[in-house]
């Protein structure tokens, strides 16, 4: 096992003041278990304080640090140097912002724009069904929850939407479908018709070309395509989930 690697990050940069983009090489000596967010910090501290990159929790639970490395959208906080070398078979890594919203600077994209897709599908209970025991929790069978609990794990990192071959052409995007499906399958939501309207609209699931890139790249390993397939198969229709 090697303990250190000489690697090059070829980072796509963008300066909003001059509206200029270029790519810049940073050569680093990196320990095997440093993560790409650690490398970005190292660049700021040792080579170039101007490189802008986003992150928040750095525990793979918020999705803020999503970038493309050698074309693959992923979370920089969980990509270890030695895993990257093994996976991509190189020590040269092209790092680019995710391609789902305009770039603000360097690796930072305008997530507000990206989130418009999610807000559009109304990521909340639109109209709760009447609670048979007011003042108490609804009863939700763990068996029912099992059907959609995977979809609730989505962190909106937009890796799926970046990899999706349809999401740049009007498709709401895989993670918006997930957010929608969660409430369609949630027995506490009564506004199913409104939700299905959105799902089967011209920005909806029939824009999906079933490449299954979403499932392949999802850092949370959610089988996103499965939920889209359920919708395409009409499993949310009048007969519901049963």
């Amino acid at each position: 096992m090697r303990s250190r690697y000489s690697i090059t990050l070829r980072i796509k940069r963008y300066d909003p003041d001059r509206k200029r983009s270029w790519s810049q090489d940073y050569k680093l000596e990196a320990g095997r278990i440093l993560r790409f967010t650690d490398l970005f910090r190292k660049i700021n501290n040792e080579l170039d304080p101007t490189l802008a990159w986003n992150s928040s929790c750095e525990h793979a639970q918020c999705g803020t640090c999503a970038v493309k490395v050698n074309g693959k959208p992923l979370l920089a906080c969980e990509l270890l140097v030695e895993n990257a070398v093994a996976f991509f078979g190189t020590t040269l890594f092209r790092v680019e912002p995710i391609t789902i919203a305009p770039v603000v600077r360097d690796l930072i994209v305008d997530l507000e724009k990206a989130y418009e897709r999610i807000e559009k599908i109304k990521p909340y209970v639109i109209d709760p069904v009447e609670n048979p025991h007011p003042g108490n929790a609804y009863q939700v069978s763990p068996r029912d929850l099992e059907h959609y609990v995977e979809a609730t794990r989505c962190i909106n990192c937009f890796c799926c939407a970046t990899a999706c071959i349809s999401s740049h052409r009007g498709f709401m995007g895989p993670n918006a479908v997930l957010a929608s499906v969660v409430r369609i399958m949630d027995p506490r939501e009564s506004a199913k018709a409104e939700r299905l309207d959105m799902l089967y609209s011209d920005q909806g699931i029939y824009r999906c070309h079933t490449s299954m890139a979403c499932s392949f790249v999802c850092p949370k390993e959610i089988d996103v395509a499965h939920f889209i397939a359920l919708a395409k198969a009409g499993r949310f229709g009048a007969k519901g989930r049963k």
Binding site: P49, A52, C57, Q61, C62, N83, Y115
Partner: protein
């Protein structure tokens, strides 16, 4: 040096208010506490104009999202649990420094808050009957310490995320306006009344003035003061620094909690479960050293004791250096545990080791060390979340909730699952208070101008020298970890104070590589460093002042609790390093009321 951008136009001409926005309520920080407050306002007073500012690119990215374990709440239908037990556990855990009026209020409304979240669509884990599942958690007991209580409701290992998702959705529904990726640089006052804040919008590189009838600070923690922390990159004590700069005090800044086993590198928690299922802590020589510190309890000793044992091994040269992260640690050995334990009891944590350090816990030793986790101290508030200027007097129009605030529910040591409970409860209570306030207060907003923001930013822009803010921050984190962390002594803390002064000097010799205001992270980091230095200084000085050990604050030279110090510390800082101390008595109203079991709420020993 690569790419130096020198702007053509005079930089300082951009330091001005670009726009003034008026609203009813300004909320600074969009984690669990800030959002819960917003939603309460929308439910009770639809149409209220609420603006919420977040430092992260989107509210969903807030640090609350990373909370794993659960949310403590006593179910009134539970035949064996009782709010009195929960209050006792919280009081005992706090080492007699929680305020009992707050403890009573939060514990008694806990279950209602859980039901509220569930009814608004949070995806709690369920038992076979479809009801909310409950699990045990360290320090939560039945019958005043007799046995473990099943008191924590949860959403798998992502309870915090469930809360943020639910609250963000509800806030959208209510018509909230978010200002994302932005920081509050100054609170605005008309006389003594807070009337809003100056907001720096990173994306546009401009400053806006938000005038509000009520302002809420919900900026979260301060974990970046330390080297290894479970906190996110943005937790840089901003709200506390904002209060200090406005001449307001912060309370108990020395009360900082360390989790014994953070995963080396990312600082993620390796849960207590690892020790309860039989994980063994080993030093460099592979010696199971807990036998020396706690011969009977060994690995199952309380959090703070285990943290001190690990830290001591490291300090005495029996730690292991991780070359990549340049951090010393010990090992936790899980190799002897059966597959069943790995697969069923600790899959998330073993997953963390695989994912973040490339280690298979079935075959290899796992690196862990004490990791900064939670700041019990914060901006002092009363039981409604209203910010206090002194032991009693409040600041009209200013509220603080969540980790940045100290009401205080946690005293000097927080119990697991009590923080999520505090966020949602105090958020709601603050929301209710704001509604009352808005209905009394005339709908007028004064024209006030910022006083400090532009001179501060001009200073950052003009500083010249060879120092690098990122590296200075690492030095500060090393000082705080070594001298003001798990172990504290007179000597070490005095050293820390000197080092912090020197770092403050050196920070004046940083030079920004780019003078652009737009998404200039170096500039924001420079601002954060000022905040971190101020709160680190307050923490070190308050720790020096508290010549006793209590909860998470451990003075090696004063290892016992001393009831002379049975009061909160208030710290005012007029300029860097120049502090005045005040005191706030600890509320002991449950004890004073003399009801059933009142004696459990006296100055009891914190022994487990």
């Amino acid at each position: 040096m690569i790419h130096l951008h020198v702007e053509g136009e005079a930089v300082n001409s951009k330091l001005r208010i670009h726009e003034t926005i008026k609203c009813d309520v300004l909320i600074i920080g969009c984690g669990g506490a800030g959002l819960r407050c917003a939603v309460e306002i929308f439910e009770k007073m639809p149409g209220t104009r609420v603006i919420a500012v977040t430092k992260v690119p989107h509210p969903q990215k807030s640090h609350t999202s990373t909370a794993q374990g659960g949310l403590a709440a006593v179910d009134p239908d539970d035949p064996v649990d009782s709010p009195a037990y929960h209050m006792f556990d919280t009081w005992k855990g706090s080492d007699c420094m929680a305020d009992q009026n707050i403890v009573k209020k939060i514990v008694e409304s806990a279950w209602t808050q859980v039901i509220w979240l569930e009814n608004h669509g949070m995806h709690f884990s369920r038992d076979e009957a479809g009801n909310l599942s409950k699990r045990t958690f360290g320090g939560h007991t039945l019958n005043f310490g007799q046995s473990s209580a099943f008191r924590a409701v949860f959403e798998a290992d992502r309870t915090g995320k469930g809360i943020v998702d639910t609250l963000w959705g509800e806030a959208l529904k209510g018509g909230i306006s978010f200002i994302n990726q932005s920081i509050a640089t100054e609170l605005l006052f008309e006389g003594k009344r807070c009337v809003g804040a100056v907001i720096f919008r990173e994306k546009y590189g401009d400053f806006v003035k938000v005038l509000a009838r009520a302002t809420v600070l919900a900026t979260g923690g301060s974990g970046q003061m330390f080297r290894v922390t479970t906190n996110c990159r943005q937790n840089t004590a901003d709200g506390l620094a904002l209060a200090l700069r406005a001449g307001l005090p912060i309370m108990d800044p020395e009360a900082v909690q360390f989790h014994p086993t953070g995963i080396v590198g990312p600082g993620i928690l390796a849960s207590e479960t690892l020790r309860s299922v039989g994980g063994i802590l080993r030093n460099r020589d592979l010696e199971p050293f807990m036998e020396r510190y706690a011969p009977r309890m060994k690995e199952l000793a309380p959090r703070d004791l285990v943290a001190r044992a690990i830290e001591k091994e490291i300090r005495e040269g029996r730690g292991v250096l991780n070359p990549d992260h340049n951090v010393e640690h010990v090992w936790i050995d899980l190799r002897h545990l059966p597959d069943y334990v790995h697969d069923v009891q600790i899959p998330e944590v073993t997953g963390f080791f695989r994912r973040f350090v490339n280690i298979d816990p079935r075959k290899e030793l796992c690196p862990v060390r004490p990791s900064n986790h939670y700041h019990m101290g914060g901006i002092p508030t009363n039981e409604f979340g209203e910010v206090q200027r002194g032991a009693k007097e409040t600041v009209p129009g200013l509220i603080a909730v969540g980790e940045c605030a100290a009401a205080s529910f946690h005293g000097f040591n927080r119990l697991g699952t009590n923080s999520l409970l505090e966020l949602i409860t105090m958020g709601k209570i603050a929301g209710e208070r704001i509604i009352e306030y808005l209905s009394q207060d005339p709908d007028t907003l004064p024209e006030v101008s910022p006083e400090r923001t532009f001179s501060l930013f001009a200073r950052f822009m003009d500083e010249k020298g060879e120092e690098n803010t990122g590296r200075l921050r690492q030095e500060m984190q090393a000082v705080m970890t070594e001298k003001a962390g798990v172990f504290r002594t007179e000597h070490g803390l005095s050293d820390a104070v000197d080092s912090l002064r020197e770092l403050y000097e050196r920070a004046g010799h940083t030079s920004l590589s780019s003078k652009s205001l737009r998404m200039n992270q170096e500039l924001v980091q420079r601002w954060e460093f000022d905040n971190l230095l101020a709160i680190s200084m307050a923490c070190a000085l308050a720790a020096l002042n508290r010549r006793e050990s209590r909860g998470a604050h451990f003075r090696e030279d004063f290892p016992e609790r001393n009831d002379e110090f049975n009061h909160h510390t208030l710290v005012y800082m007029s300029e860097f390093g120049k502090v005045d101390f005040g005191k706030r008595p600890v509320d002991m109203s449950i004890y004073a009321a003399g009801g059933e079991n009142y004696e459990k709420f006296g100055l009891i020993e914190r022994k487990y």
